[in-house]
Symmetry: C2
Subunit: 251 residues, 2 copies
């Protein structure tokens, strides 16, 4: 790629959109400049362009995104057959287990939810397609990392802030690598309150016909609702069954 | 807004992203140029910029979006308190009715789903946050249009392709305006197989404390599962109750 092939104004504009994450609904030019590290003039032009295209509103002081911005994320969801293929299987898993079931893919050091079915919203975590969680301490993240070789995983983890969300969270790279070896061997990952106290989840890889892991499926439940044994004895067979059916339907 | 305040490269890049809607997962430079009306050199630079930023993949011939693009739509969803506020109410509605319940806002001539809960996926329509439907023939669209004055609605409808999806679909602007008057008066809209044969839905406005309609809530069901009378006698009270509780919790 030549330098002249890079559209700076486009790249900076996308950074401006991302500045609205993390619950910051209304932002001033100064705030977006601070969050993105871009200069105010650039931020101002990007925001005014978004307003002109009706992707954002401006009340004279603050800018906020409009629902039109959903078209961008939706371009991926509607263009990718995977979420639509997954949804009935996740609905079935959620119904059978009475819990929530999700699918995600790896995006750098995080997992991104691409589909989800939930029977009841019991967790403090509010997840929708596009939501992200750290890969190192989530069940789907462990499954997706286990599909990679150890060395690139070490590099990813070295760039990750390995925070102890609870006193059970693995934060040592060597320990995580050992755990990923176990996940690779047994074909599933269990997270027992490493992401959040009171939350357990179990995940399996979704493989295509060539045996490549293309996503992860999981079921998450409040620890009070489901023991580790139940997760492995009751939920795991449903998950592997769903992954097997999906493998057959995938190219 | 001065002309120099508009970042052309950003605006064109956003059009390139939107070209991937409608199930077109893999697109060549020529295809994106055709869909967007932009010249190939511009499309090429925009696509290569997306690849450089890992928003897109390139296999040497075709470009496809990566899940990272979900960050953009998610910036809206996470920054807006409304979807998170709505979700427990939609979950409750879906559970009580055994059907699906959604919330949406108006984006030009379409409704955009901002939250959804479904008990079972029985429709041929696969809806997720960011999905869009035509406003003129959907229950939430009717509620949102009814909140506007007749003249701007006429202008919107004049720009809409008023397609008869079924032989029940209202496609005459005057008839739609009369129906919107009825919706305004009765406080809800019912769609009986105007969008799709076999599909009924009922919607109410979600108003803030100032009485402004800020979104619509609905319940949709297969016609075989629920009569019009059931929708009005059983579902409508649940919807108005949810809207009233939400109104109190909104600023």
């Amino acid at each position: 790629m030549k330098e002249t092939d890079f559209v700076n104004g486009f790249a900076k504009g996308l950074r401006v959109i991302e500045a609205f994450e993390d619950g910051d609904r209304r932002l001033s030019i100064a705030e977006v400049a601070k969050k993105t590290g871009l200069d105010r003039a650039t931020v101002r032009r990007s925001l005014l362009t978004l307003v002109e295209l009706q992707y954002a509103d401006y009340d004279g002081k603050f800018f906020s995104l409009t629902p039109r911005i959903l078209r961008l994320g939706h371009a991926y969801l509607s263009a990718t057959p995977l979420p639509a293929l997954l949804q009935p299987h996740l609905d079935h898993l959620a119904e059978k287990t009475g819990q929530s079931s999700s699918a995600s893919v790896l995006d750098d050091i995080q997992v991104v939810y691409i589909a989800r079915a939930s029977q009841r919203r019991v967790m403090s975590i509010n997840l929708t397609p596009g939501s992200r969680l750290p890969a190192y301490c989530s069940s789907m993240g462990r499954v997706l990392l286990a599909a990679m070789a150890d060395e690139p995983v070490r590099q990813l983890l070295a760039r990750t802030a390995l925070r102890a969300n609870t006193d059970r969270t693995l934060t040592d790279i060597d320990e995580i690598i050992v755990e990923l070896g176990r996940v690779r061997q047994q074909g599933y990952a269990v997270i027992d309150q490493e992401l959040e106290l009171g939350l357990r989840s179990i995940a399996v890889p979704l493989k295509n016909r060539r045996g490549e892991t293309i996503a992860a499926l999981n079921v998450g439940a409040p620890a009070a609702h489901m023991s580790l044994t139940q997760m492995i004895e009751e939920v795991l067979p449903l998950l592997t069954d769903a992954a097997e059916r999906l493998r057959i339907s995938l190219m």
